[in-house]
Amino acid sequence: MPPSQLKRLKSSLREQGITGPQKSKKQKKAAKGSKPASDRIQRNVALQQIRDTFNPFELKAPSRPAKFQHANDRVATNGSGGRYKDVLHRPGVSKSAGEEMRRATLLPEMQRRHKVGGLVDRRIGEGDPGMTAEERAVQRYAQEKQRKKGASLFDLEASDDDEPKKIGLTHGGKNIDELGADDFGEQLSGAEESEDDGELMRKKRRRSDEEEEENGVAGDEVDEQPERKKTKKEVMEEVIAKSKLHKYERQQAKEDDDDLREELDSGTSDLLALIRGHKPPPPPPKVPEAGVAANSDEPMMNPERMKLLSGMDRAQVNKEYDSRLRQLAQEQRAKPSERTKTAEEKIQEEAARLKELEEKRAKMMRGDEVSDDERDIPQQADENAAVDQEDVIPDEAVEFGFTSSAAQPKKDTQQLVLEDEDEFAFDEDLIASGSEIDMSEASESEQDYDLEDEEPQAEADEEDEFVKGILGDMPNGAAEFEGQPAPPSTPGLAFTYPCPRSHPELLQVSKDSAVDQLPTIIQRIRALHHPSLSADNKEAMADFSAALVDHLSYMGMQKHSLAITEQVIRHLHSLSRTYPETIAKAFRSQINSAHERKDLHAGDLVTLTAIGSIYPTSDHFHQVVTPAITLMARWLEMSTPNSVEKHTSGGFLVALCLSYQKLSKRYIPEAIRFTLRALSSKPTPSGELKRVHLDNLTTMANLWQTKPAFPEIFQPFLPLLKTLKAKNTHQSLLNHLKTAHLTRRPLELHHHRPSAIRTSIPKFEEGFNPEKHYDPDKERSDARKLQREYKREKKGAVRELRKDARFIGREQLREKKERDWEYERKYRRLVAEVQGEEGKESKSYEREKRKRKGGR
């Protein structure tokens, strides 16, 4: 059985050291003198604890989370977390506080009800129950002081007897006197002032402390205010400042010592002379002096360096030395010149280069190195789809790059263009600000970094071939330019031309000269306006090359000599290394115009030929080649071979397509179909035309020998060839078919690893609490939280209102009782009065009666 309440109280009091054995008066006095303030606080805390433990119902843990938790979530989580968590509610205390509050606010209000007029107390804090009397007093005092001050500023009369105000010059709102070095004194005076007050306050406080001590009652926290302790930071700052000061002082002292010593040293000789009693030698001239100084130093020093040293500060010298050392370290050592290679080595190198290029080509052919823009299409389109219509199923064909022009909104392409332009501008800036690197090299080096070393070299060589002669010794070089009708001494051909920037200009330039001389003209223009000669030339040459592309088509239309066309193509090829984008764009616009024309004319044929030779046609995707071959395929598909010209241009286009696919050996259904239709057309094509188609057929058969569907592709030709009596072709095709048959196997395309069955593990909650809400939807759960809080607040408000009502009822009852009691008292008094009077009267009556009786 636990000990009784009283016993426990006593023991716990003793444990806390609040009660103890009786102290003697002496002891008490000693204790009183040394009792620090914190001791008392501790005591109070201990007492509170004891109280709490002995009345468990005084305390109550909150049954629900803190108020406004939702709104204060962030506050609670950072730093001062759980401000409300540790709070234990004290229903008793809060109840009485509430009662008190009501009494202070509600009661006056209630009493003032239905009343008009009256006095309103406007003194500070009079109506405010939250203020203690002391606070009220302090504020009133402060206000009083303030008022006095404000009044005295411009109060001329009062200014004399008050402490003298300083009215004078100010700077930045401050008195000018306070600004200078004088602020130390000012601060002091301020301290003095406050000290006066402080003294007073302290005295007061001390007195009250003493009173408390005597009473032995734990003081309120209001009157207890220990002096503010310095924060740790402040302390540390002080310490640091102090140590710095000390250090500085020490250094200063040391320097002073050094100076002194130096002075002493310099004076030593004089002193010694004085001591020895003979005059020192006259001061030597400068250089010898240096020599003397050198002598005095142990290691010998270069006099020059010495001189250098003498003029400068030591530190500066050191710095210079360091920088020189660094310079030396960084200086490039002379490289050994490259050894001249032997012929074999050269061949080897060349072979390696070729091999590398071939590998790159093969990679492009397979489409391994998928170019950026190709991969971009689906992505971009997907994004479009996602952005524009989220709920619409994305076009599946887009995955494979089949975007119908209608499906692609115009707006986006425009945006794309803009983006591009930005990029482009950026690039150009870079190049312009950088060193003078050739455009072509820059662009080339982006793509094949590893080839950087050889490529420009080779390129320069080849470019030389085209431009040489005019830049250097002109007549010789031009004559050497192979395959060219010797141009230099051609009469009537100017040596200088303006750079034509468009096709009409080009025509203008070349109109006076013979057609054959065009390559020479181009050569001269290229030499004259070589980009290395002027900054503007780069742009001009780009335009010129675009004009050349247009001119190619024109040459085809005008049926110029193919040899000349070939030269122009080769010029364009070499130019397109420097201006790949401009020329590609020009070619693409040519293709586009042919596409819109829906037919191919002679100029287009030349353009397509040029594309086939300038660009790598084996690439999986190429910005110029792919549309070009699409154009050809469309022509082959759409046109029926029913006339001689259709036959000839068709035959040429099939041959051109096949030459495009020479390396990559891709299959072209349109070529097969066209040849088939051409061979079976009525009337059967004549000797020459037939031969063209048969040649094409043979080429195709050779090209696609390894295709798995070879028999299906070429079987339909057999009966045709028989009727056409093309024995050789028939025989070779038969041979091909035979070999194809031998290599034929059933397809086995799906040797894939079987795909795993998809698993979906349910999400388990560790330590599931059924009372907690696991709502994954953050918004919803937040909303619910907020709603709950609102409900709770409402309940609380209702409760408060009810309490108010109860309070009012209670007060009214009390008042009524009081009134009743008043009435009752009055009534009783009256009754008593009446009775008393009556009694008196009856007594007197009795008396009278008795008197009369007695009288009788």
Binding site: S405, T413, E566, L605, Y615, F652, L656
Partner: protein, 557 residues
Amino acid sequence: MPGLILTNGDSRKRKRTDGSATKVNGVKPRKASKTTTSSENTQADILLLEEQILESREHYNNIVKLQSWVDNADKKPKTATLAAVALCRAFCRLIAGEHLVKRKEDSEADAQVVDWLKQRLRGYVQSLTGWIGSPDASKESTALTLLMRVVKEETSQGAKRSEQAWRTDRSTFYVVVKALLESADAEAAREEFVEKYVEEHDDVRFYTMLAIKQFSCTAEEKSKHCISNELHLLSKIEGIPDAPEQLGDWYGQPPSPATHQLLSLPAHRKVAQECWLSIFRAPLTIAHRKAILNIMTPQILLWFNNRMEILADFLTDSFNEGGALSLLALSGIFTLMTERNLDYPDFYTKLYSLLDEDVMHSKHRSRFFKLLDQFMNSSHLPAALVASFIKRLACLSLQAPPGGIVWVVPWVYNMLKRHPACTFMLHRPYHPAHAIYASNPAYQENGVEDAFKALEVDPMHTSAVDSSLWELQTLTEHWHPNVATLAKILSEQFTKREYLLEDFQDHSYASLLDAELGKEVRKVPEVEWEIPKRILTEEGGGLNGLGVLLGRAIDSS
């Protein structure tokens, strides 16, 4: 213009009539010369004449007067219109007043008057039908409205007489329908007729069908445009009743007894069927058939609820015509099969026969593909049949443009996904049970013989299941990068459930070019690293092969 010729002895009356007529005649020219400018006077005249007609039969000759104005439509169209309206009103009142009916108690003179009136009416109708097909739309419309107004009066008389007015080939109604069918440029009138009368009123539709049937039976020298007109008119009729309750809008006299044929849906159907049959029997051109097939499912099929064999016959005939018609006909047959349970065993054989080399290159490619996908949609088709179709299409795509290949590949994917038995066409590892390995035991040395019989007509017996799709494998090396990439889906794992074929349907060279050329060049294009010494020429001078061809092509163009 014939005058009123009455040999009757009632001279007084006649005189007066004549007098009035002459009076009017006498007045008229004077006035006409004056009032050519003031139409108000003419209008007043017309109104006056019309009123007089209704007042008494003495003024019947006014009809002649008005009719002459109506006939003079080319010169004075406004007056003619007014006169026509006035005459219409007059005739309507006369018909309503039963002045055009001979009664037994009538005297001979009266009978003559009635005959004369009838003749006038016929003349009036004849001249108005002449207006149908005229380029003036408002005139045409007016004529149609007035004629139908007369028809309404005629058909609202009494059960027997209105029946006559509907049916006989001398009645106004028949004349109107005939005019509509015969005149070549009466599209607007036909449309208006159908919209305002046929669609609104069940009896008009019924008798129109009847009239068309009569028309096509009687007219021997039916020209092509008559059939076109018939088709045009019939194709506009869209409101087809499918329950007897829907029959309730009458233009003329409502059918009185409950057993009247206008009230029975089968009767309506029968008339419509006969009408269509009369057209089916006519010598139809391809355009006609196309027009019929286009409205087959939505309109004609509903009439032929119980006699689908007739339709099936027609469709088979159309199929045999070949070309684009075949496909349309097949579509119709397919509808009959799926919706009306028609038994048509040759359907897939016929469909298979449509897969010839032209199908990939025709204008209707995408439509054909759409229907083909629809026909082959069932998962209950035998694998052998599906395999034949796949193999056939694969063969065809060896010469197809990219637009066709782009559809074929995902379609094959879908079919293989739906019929897993066909996936052997893509993947057939060695197993002795496979027919192809069994029939080619030394396949390692000699290769295999393709089991597919390309010339077999019946898709069930081509043994395409035992073949392989080498064609589609070849297309993975198509010249167009996107097509090649797409073709590769067949050799990858079949993880996707289905491709949406609509997305692959409408691609063409133009769309490929537009898509590519519409983009900006973002990356620096690759340039061939080697500048060839010779492109078109040969070492010793002269042109090489390509150069020769180019030169020739340039020269020839």
